[in-house]
């Protein structure tokens, strides 16, 4: 039985994560009646942040991970840095909602399953792309040229940043354009020591405070960070940006928002007569009931994998290879950042300096390889940045030492040396071979085909990593590490960077791209895809800010098109 209800929405947004929240805010603020469909559970801001501010002694097992449960039900999700008993209720249950994971060629798909999506769990690092990033494909011939450049997006970066609140330091670099900044967070003394040494011994590098969507002063009705530490448990004061703290409340305030959790979108129905999406078919994950909703425009903001999966399963007679897939690019050119610790160094400096407060942020060394106008490497294309974190060793890192009694207790209670870890974030080339597809036989509990992946790091990513490790080694020496360790090869599989991008790329040529310069599906004018699926290349900086800017820009365009009667 198909219930047809509420066909009088102006817009339907699929997903309530970082881009779905933005689409909801922008479209409702422009006066549209908007239905947001979220496949995950409902979640109330603050009320459902079950792990927030819980001290270790109240956590199950005082923080030790329930291994059997994680192995059985969260084998992929539990790899996330943000996964614990204090955050598990935000994550997808791998057993309930599986995908096909090839153990020999794995792709880690980290997914949230709640209203707010991964905007609750993201790392909050916020960087603009540079003009060089947008030109990269056109210049080296990998992938297809972007249909937009930095100047197209710059005003939208500003627009988004002013709302979300980004703390950081302006540097005036072409390779890392400045945002609209709130004051940067402070550095540890050891970080200032390292920065000073790098200035002398590695003057080609810049080291700056991490740019984060965390407030260093009160902003838009949200409070400055209170430095409790683990942001991803949820933040009642809204001090870090999430859909829950910011965009969904803004959308709700317009009175134009209807949000429907537990709504698994099964299919988009394309009407060949109008060349538009006429219906969005939904399965209620709780009741199993099927519904159909109609609206003038549809925004896919279901995450890279989720949106492309939806387009693929919306194949029809008119689009036999997936909705809007005239180009054959749908599902292909999957990217992620090759991301992980490249080097870790121990420091005996500033041992008498300590800290107060848990700063949820590190420092950043922007890309310094293959920069525009400077000599290019023969060995690899594009580049990488380093995100650096400092910790003071303590009992957690040294409990497995010998001895018993008062001496052991005294040694474990005191801080050890400083450790500075350099994590490389390397750009990934768009490659047709890296793809996701619908498994021909495996279905999920709703009867929807499971997603499968065929993707791996390729030659250029390995070469970039090799260079990143040798540069990290140089940086450690220049920084004054007494001892350092290197990670010679990329440890994590694709997907583990949680920066999955591509598979429904933007481009001017409908024969090569799924989306046009405004994230509009080339052959389906009332359908937009504004999450990571739209990305034509991957840069080396964290992508969320760019998704948000692209979403706000696409919403502006879509509403103008509607007003002009074109959609």
């Amino acid at each position: 039985m198909l219930h047809t209800a509420n066909y009088d929405f102006d817009a339907i947004v699929v997903g309530s994560g970082i881009t779905g929240g933005w689409a909801a805010k922008e479209l409702t603020e422009k006066g549209l009646k908007v239905l947001v469909l979220e496949r995950g559970k409902d979640l109330q801001h603050s009320v459902d942040y079950l792990g927030e501010h819980a001290p270790d002694w109240k956590l199950p097992y005082q923080g030790k991970r329930p291994r059997e449960l994680y192995r059985e039900e969260y084998p992929v999700q539990s790899k996330s840095y943000a996964f614990s008993e204090a955050t598990r209720h935000f994550f997808n249950n791998d057993k309930e909602n599986p995908y096909v994971r090839d153990e020999d060629k794995p792709f880690d798909w980290i997914r949230a399953n709640v209203v707010g999506g991964r905007s609750l769990l993201w790392g909050r690092q916020t960087y603009r792309w540079s003009e060089q990033d947008f030109q990269a494909n056109a210049q080296d011939g990998h992938g297809i040229p972007w249909p937009i450049g930095y100047s197209d997006l710059a005003p939208w970066y500003s627009y988004v940043e002013k709302f979300i609140g980004v703390s950081g330091e302006a540097l005036g670099l072409d390779e890392l354009p400045d945002s609209e900044f709130l004051p940067p967070m402070g550095m540890h003394k050891i970080e200032e020591t390292i920065k000073g040494r790098l200035k002398n011994k590695a003057p080609d590098l810049k080291m700056t405070m991490g740019r984060v969507a965390i407030l260093t002063e009160d902003h838009n009705g949200r409070a400055a960070c209170h430095y409790c530490g683990p942001c991803h448990r949820g933040c009642s004061t809204g001090s870090y940006f999430s859909s829950q703290s910011s965009t969904l409340p803004a959308a709700r305030a317009t009175g134009n928002l209807t949000l429907r959790p537990n709504s698994v979108v099964e299919k988009l129905i394309f009407d060949p007569a109008t060349k538009k999406i006429s219906e969005v078919r939904v399965i209620d994950s709780q009741s199993g009931e099927r519904h159909a909703f109609r609206a003038r425009i549809v925004f896919c903001c279901a995450s890279t994998v989720g949106s492309t999966q939806l387009l693929l399963q919306s194949a029809s007679e008119h689009f036999p290879h997936g909705l809007g897939n005239r180009s054959g690019a749908l599902g292909h050119y999957l990217m992620d950042h090759a991301l992980g610790m490249a080097a870790l160094g121990f420091f005996l400096d500033d041992m008498d300096s300590y800290y107060f407060g848990n700063r949820p942020n590190g420092t950043y060394i922007p890309r310094f390889r293959n920069l525009a106008g400077k000599p290019a490497s023969d060995d690899f294309l594009r580049g990488y940045g380093f995100q650096a974190n400092v910790i003071r060793m303590d009992w957690r890192t040294g409990f497995n030492q010998k001895g018993f009694g008062a001496g052991l207790k005294d040694s474990l209670r005191k801080p050890g040396p400083w450790v500075w870890a350099l994590s490389a974030f390397a750009e990934c080339l768009p490659d047709s071979r890296n793809r996701l597809y619908l498994h021909p036989t495996k279905k999920d509990r709703f009867g929807i085909p499971q997603v499968a992946f065929d993707a791996a790091w390729r030659d250029n990513e390995h070469r970039l990593w090799g260079d990143a490790v040798s540069q990290a080694d140089r940086i450690m020496k220049a920084a004054g590490a007494v001892f350092s360790i290197k990670q010679e090869s990329i440890e994590a599989p694709m997907g583990a960077g949680i920066h999955e991008m591509g598979t429904a790329r933007m481009g001017n040529d409908p024969q090569q791209a799924v989306l046009n310069a405004y994230n509009q599906v080339h052959d389906v004018p009332n359908l937009f895809v504004t999450d990571g699926a739209c990305m034509t290349s991957s840069s080396c900086v964290n992508p969320s800010l760019t998704y948000m800017a692209l979403t706000a820009r696409a919403c502006d365009y879509a509403v103008k098109q509607m007003q002009a009667g074109l959609v």
Binding site: E52, H53, D56, W57, L69, R88, W395, R396
Partner: protein
């Protein structure tokens, strides 16, 4: 706490070992706001018999003794270890632990004609040191591995005991607040605090 807790541990009567895994992790039905929930060790475990409880309590206290700051018993570590052994360890790990505990008890009795908890501190430490000497080549001691792992399943009893004791101690309320330093709501970040030679680490929040 302290003495009373110790006696309380000893007072619990148990009729043998239960090998049931009693999951404590949150299911969707058991949602609670963790910060207002009782401590993990608020429940009284009833898995070990009185003799085992007494010996375990003294073992944890020998590893993390009361000095000018509270020790393992003050911090409720015996409870933590007992709960973890029966609710968190796998069957194999548990039998290794319980086997190790029982062996230590019978060997101590045979050698000293006294239970472990009645020995002088020096003797108690010596017993653990002997066990540690025998365990010396276990991967448990590998430098740099402590932060990266969940547990080493085949680590000898003494390593399991140490890990659970130390973890239970420094993540307990008493350990966090009275041995380490704890500040739930710092309200600011300052990267230039001076550290005196005798200052403790912060009890940094877990993931």
């Amino acid at each position: 706490m302290n003495r009373r807790e110790f006696l309380e541990c000893a007072a619990v009567m148990v009729g043998g070992l239960s090998l049931h895994q009693v999951g404590f992790s949150l299911s969707q039905e058991q949602r609670v706001y963790l910060a207002t929930a009782p401590s993990y060790i608020a429940r009284k475990p009833a898995y070990l018999n009185v003799a085992q409880k007494k010996t375990l309590a003294m073992l944890t206290e020998t590893i993390m003794p009361r000095t000018d700051t509270p020790g393992a018993i003050d911090a409720g570590v015996p409870r933590f270890v007992e709960l973890m052994v029966f609710e968190w360890l796998t069957d194999e790990e548990r039998s290794l632990f319980v086997g190790g505990l029982n062996a230590l008890m019978s060997e101590t009795e045979a050698t000293h004609q006294k239970p472990y908890e009645q020995l002088a501190e020096k003797q108690r430490v010596a017993i653990l040191e002997d066990l540690e000497k025998a365990a010396g080549d276990s991967a448990w001691y590998d430098i740099g591995s402590a932060a990266m792992r969940d547990f080493i399943s085949d680590a000898p009893f003494v390593c399991q005991l140490k890990e659970l004791t130390i973890w239970g101690f420094f993540t307990s309320e008493v350990g966090s607040k009275q041995v380490l330093r704890y500040e739930a709501m710092p309200m600011k970040f300052d990267g230039h605090r001076s550290l005196d030679e005798d200052d403790s680490s912060w009890a940094t929040p877990f993931i």
